[in-house]
């Protein structure tokens, strides 16, 4: 196999703990009540177009985009709109949601609910993008950036490569892995659709070497296509970061503060490719996704296909219950996920996993003095000096933090993971990014 590609700077290798990698994707029954938040994407929240008491069907549009960077939301269930009210999101903030009481499972007529594989793509680029936009598809890796925006390069820029992110570098998470194994054919068609939409001739599927079954399976599926290439990558966190993946796949570096299109690349997650297939070929909007429920104490680490809006306690029940010694619940992976404050929060478009940490592993180590070992500098994938900029942010020297490129930080957590003094570097980096962002915006105005 030779030397495997990876990105150039830094990187760590935390314990993989892919407990659920052999658990096939299971369907979860439709919940009794679905809570559909209106802000499920990066950017502006959507605007509801249904009222209390309206009957809705699965796949029916219930909220439309509230701006350019915003998406449509479709009803994931059929039933009656119970109310449009605030409900808890992952971090405990109460945000507007559409709450639907479920009654049966009646689908909208326009959705093709058959299981047939449709491989012919017979529509043009513009219409593909239109369908993706209408289906409300966002990046399924967790960043939830509206997909159609990425498919429309700004004037003067053209895409050269489509890079499909099947890296799943976060420990514990396995939803993309299972998707590739079980929905590989659909993903490949989704990739072809995306290539047509972007008008590119070459696509790479980046997969880390710890998923040899996915690599060989995807290789098998793209054997007849010269323009799609499976790219095995060395296991290295945070390879799933857009910029790192581009560097690893095509050896190009996205300049500071720029988007991947600057170097002619568009990155999409495998889950997104699958959603694109369903939206374009089956006219099925984004109403369900695959979520990993995992953790060392979880009795049955699993991958579930769930409707958006399902409360996460339903998922945890399906994984045979909340372990007694749960100390922290994380929405996403352990490196970049967010802690959840309540089990009532629903699954949203960006929920890639629910991780239950045991009490012992959920507490941070006691912070000690920095011994200037510079391990944080060695592992930083962006070539920053976390010890310096986090200290600057802590002490309120935001000017220094900005000059030392704090805004390039991708908050991957590598620095804090390896810090021998257990300093909460990322906390202060994020604080610095919030403050510097404010300063930069106020300067613009």
């Amino acid at each position: 196999m030779g030397i495997l590609r990876t990105f150039a700077l830094g990187g760590i290798h935390p314990d993989e703990n892919k407990l659920s990698s052999n658990a096939a994707i299971e369907e979860i029954p439709v919940p009794k009540q679905a809570i559909v938040p209106l802000g499920q994407n990066l950017g502006a929240p959507s605007k509801p177009i249904v009222k209390k008491g309206d009957d809705v069907k699965v796949g029916q549009l219930i909220a439309e985009a509230g701006g350019f960077i915003s998406t449509n939301i479709h009803s994931p269930v059929s039933g009656k709109v119970f109310k449009i009210d605030n409900s808890m999101d992952a971090s405990g903030f109460r945000r507007p949601c559409i709450i639907i009481n479920v009654d049966g499972d009646e689908w909208d007529e326009s959705v093709d609910t058959t299981k047939d594989l449709i491989s012919d793509i017979n529509i043009e680029s513009k219409e593909i993008i239109e369908r993706i936009k209408n289906a409300g598809i966002v990046g399924m890796g967790g960043a939830t950036f509206p997909t159609y925006v990425k498919l429309m390069p700004p004037p003067g820029k053209t895409a050269e490569y489509l890079i499909i992110n099947g890296v799943e570098c976060e420990p514990y998470l396995t939803s993309d892995h299972r998707m590739m194994l079980e929905k590989g054919r659909e993903i490949v068609i989704g990739i072809k659709i995306l290539m047509k939409a972007l008008n590119v001739n070459k696509a790479f599927i980046g997969i880390e070497n710890n998923k040899p079954d996915a690599i060989s399976h995807m290789r098998e599926l793209v054997r007849e296509n010269d323009d799609i290439q499976v790219q095995p990558l060395k296991v290295q966190y945070p390879q799933g970061g857009e910029k790192q993946l581009i560097k690893a796949s095509v050896n190009r570096e996205v300049p500071s503060g720029k988007l991947p299109i600057e170097v002619g690349c568009v990155v999409q997650n495998v889950g997104t490719a699958f959603a694109v297939y369903e939206a374009v070929q089956k006219n099925k909007p984004l109403i369900e996704r695959v979520v990993t429920v995992t953790g060392k104490a979880v009795k049955k680490p699993s991958n579930f296909r769930v409707r958006i809006g399902t409360p996460i306690n339903v998922l945890i029940e399906a994984a045979e219950g909340l372990p007694d010694n749960t100390g922290k619940i994380i929405n996403g992976g352990p490196m970049m996920g967010k802690s959840i404050t309540s089990l009532d929060m629903p699954v949203v478009k960006g929920t890639s996993g629910i991780l239950l940490l045991e009490k012992e592993e959920s507490s941070r180590k006691v912070e000690g003095p920095c011994i200037r070992c510079s391990k944080c500098t060695y592992v930083c994938p962006m070539g920053l000096e976390p010890f310096l900029i986090s200290k600057a942010a802590k002490l309120g020297n935001f000017e220094l933090a900005e000059n030392e490129s704090i805004m390039d930080c991708i908050e991957c957590g590598s620095c804090q993971y390896g810090c021998p003094a257990a300093i909460p570097l990322v906390d202060y980096l994020r604080l610095g990014k919030i403050k510097v962002g404010q300063i930069m915006r106020s300067r613009k105005n």
């Binding site: 109460r94 967010k338 906390d427 604080l431």
Partner: protein, 328 residues
Amino acid sequence: MESAVDNIIIIAIGGLGGLGLIMAIILYFIANKFKVFEDPKIDEVEEALPSANCGGCGFPGCRAYAEAAVNSEKEHGNINGLNCPVGGNDVGQELGRILGLEVEDQDPMIAVVRCNGSPTNSPKKVNYEGATSCAFAHALYAGEGGCMYSCLGLGDCVDACDFDAIHMNPDTGLPVVNDKCTACGACVTACPRDIIELRKRGPKDKRIFVSCINQEKGAPAKKNCSVACIGCAKCDKVCNFDAITITSFLAYIDFEKCTLCRKCVEVCPTSAIHEVNFKPRKPRPEKPKVTTSVSDNSQNTVPSMESGKVKPDKSVIAKGIEIIETKE
């Protein structure tokens, strides 16, 4: 031999002295040539200011404020809108004397913390662990008690204060403003949740305010915090002075209109309206109330910080929350 030494001394003194003289002359001419005319009043005004350089007036430092005040006097003939919150009325009058103006007295203001979500009132649901920064915690989660409007208790306001006027109460986890407050507004900007407001100090430091900014409906607000404003509008009904407005399930008392009659305090079902520095009411036998349990925001109730200032004989300690009377 001796004459040689003398020569050296003379040369040295003469050389250095001459050099000094030439430099002095050059300096004199340059200083004259590039002299910038400055109104001597600016210096005078700056002298009268408290030199805290806190920025509370909206200018970067006292010197900038002094310039602005002198310019305003020249251009508009008044210094309206330019008041030094730290110096208060004494400084205002002094400026008026220097600039030859009549300066109206401003009502003295004080920072008021509008949250009473201590662990007793709003029980902890989660444990936060991480950076001691409200701005960061605000971006991370709603709050330990579950209220997304609540004080996060990590002390960004304390760090922002230049006057040692705000401290965290270790028991309640809430900031407490003391008498040193100059109403510069640094804590108001520092608070990511806009909990702190500048309000009128009031006669004899008596104030009434709603100690809550929760804009949720009553039920969810009350679920997280027993002393939240639930927007029931009872206070609005009893107010005879139109001082109370209810917007998005939250009562707000306009301190300009409020006459400190305390009717609203009595009717508030959740004790969200606080009265500060009033004498305790006479107990009413028919209605034993707990609404008088008020955390005093004008006095520093952190015992370790200001133990000398708190007069225990005048304080009534009830249910772990103090009522302290201020100046007589």
